[in-house]
Amino acid sequence: MQSRSSHRVFAFLAIWLALFLLTFADAALRRDTGARVLEANEQLVAQLGLTDLCLFTEARYTRHPSQADLQSAFQDHPLAFEHFPSGSLLPPPRNLSSSYENLDRKTKSAD
């Protein structure tokens, strides 16, 4: 007697469901090994006083988004550093920029 198509589909889905659940187990396992790496990275960051991820090395002013100054090429805001293909299509949210501006305005003389 031929095998029943619903059973075949159940078996297929069961395999993928198992794989789906395995991804969680895998994530937990890798999180344990990854934790060591993260810890090492944290230490490196602390030792060297690093401020940024090394993701955008295409130009000086994209390398350290948080440190770039206001006057680098094309740059109009410390949070707007996206002029390359990895660049921005959307402005940063308003509330992000306000705190920095507030601090800035507290200076008595203009810079």
Binding site: L17, L38, L50, S66
Partner: protein, 383 residues
């Protein structure tokens, strides 16, 4: 209960053999559906893990960084500023940082040069004439410890360094492009006089006071620009949020196209399908049986697409380093860190993805059937 299960299995049998009649079309649909889930899940997993990693790693970065502005430009900061900062209450540690950028025209890459402070453990004692390099730099220039490398500095002088060590591969996400050298070498290379630093890193005694201290600093040093760690972290949060947004905006076109296609496929009830439902009603199926049968069709197709798409996305992001997204993030960079993200999976996110992929398709399959399924069973005989 056994009868209920048998009945559902029988309805699934029917729905499967009925799907098998248009094998190519339905497999095509399943494939496109899976690809959509795969892309959405990849973006979600990737940005979530990266965001988590940035927050985790950068929580140890300096709490406050003070830059000096001259004519509105970032300038060297003199030693005297360190002393002035020291008099502000609440400032715990302070140190001048030496770092800068160097463009290496051999491989057209930008490096970050840094002279670690003598206090920092591990890297404090880099001897003059030695450098420690990031893993991506080593890869790009083909360097191993012991090799010599020369750079022509911005002053035109040639400097030769011995590679003392390569930073661990695992640390690439934060250190891929670093060149660490001694303070003497750094000052000589960039021609920075003694007593000047690039900026000052501070730590504060009470993290709650960080904002107050920051405004005190800007009163004491009116030409200072102050960068707080929490701003840095929020910057990264927003970078990944909006990059995720960009990718989703770009994806939305294809998602919409698929939605139209799926809606058309699922809801466009052909005359043939209507006739079939009439036949099923005539030979003794209830309205509920027809709806259940269609429910299974929608649920099986979308569940399969979800499981396949999600599992593929998981492997793509966490086992193949999100190879498909690399061009997007890499941009024009020459040096790009190779890193494996630590899997951070957010159950709520997966539930959202599940809901938005499985639910609409299943509904789109059932709803249009409703009208056809409530026809009278004798409609077939009336012709």
């Amino acid at each position: 209960m056994k009868i209920w299960i048998e009945r559902q299995k029988a309805l699934i049998d029917f729905t499967l053999s009925s799907l098998a009649r248009r094998k190519l079309k339905n497999l095509g649909l399943l494939l496109v559906y899976t690809v959509i889930v795969f892309l959405l899940a990849s973006v979600m997993l990737y940005t979530h893990a990266l965001r988590h990693e940035a927050a985790q790693v950068l929580k140890n970065s300096p709490e406050v960084i003070v830059q000096r502005m001259v004519a509105g430009r970032h300038d060297l900061i003199p030693l005297g500023y360190l002393e002035k900062l020291g008099r502000i209450r609440g400032v715990q540690n302070k140190e001048g940082r030496l770092w800068g950028y160097f463009y290496d025209n051999v491989v057209s890459a930008n490096y970050t040069l840094m002279a670690p402070s003598p206090e920092s453990h591990g890297f404090g004692r880099i001897a003059d004439g030695k450098i420690v390099i990031g893993a991506a730099v080593a890869r790009e220039r083909g360097l191993v410890p012991g090799n010599l490398i020369s750079f022509r500095s911005y002053t035109g002088k040639l400097f030769v360094f011995t590679v003392a060590a390569v930073l661990p591969h695992e640390a690439e996400l934060v250190s891929a492009d670093l060149l660490l050298l001694s303070e003497t070498d750094f000052r000589a290379f960039f021609d920075i006089p003694a007593g000047y630093y690039n900026d000052i890193a501070l730590s504060v005694a009470n993290p709650q006071e960080v904002r107050n201290i920051a405004s005190k600093i800007s009163e004491t040093l009116p030409d200072a620009r102050i960068i707080l760690r929490e701003e840095v972290l929020r910057t990264y949060e927003s970078i990944f949020n909006w990059r995720e947004g960009i990718v989703l905006v770009l994806l939305s076109g294809s998602i919409l196209a698929f939605a139209i296609f799926a809606w058309e496929k699922a809801s466009g009830l052909s005359a043939e399908e209507k006739r079939e439902i009439g036949i099923l009603k005539a030979i003794g199926w209830e309205t509920g049986d027809v709806l259940k049968m269609k429910f299974w069709e929608g649920a099986l197709v979308s569940l399969t697409a979800f499981l396949l798409g999600y599992v593929a996305a998981y492997f793509h992001v966490f086992h193949f380093s999100a190879a498909l997204f690399e061009p997007v993030l890499k941009g024009w960079s020459v040096l790009y860190p190779r890193f494996e993200l630590v899997p951070v999976v957010d159950g709520f996110q997966i539930a959202t993805l599940f809901f938005f992929t499985v639910f609409p398709y299943t509904v789109a399959t059932i709803v249009p059937i409703w009208r056809a399924a409530i026809t009278d069973p004798d409609a077939v005989m009336r012709g």
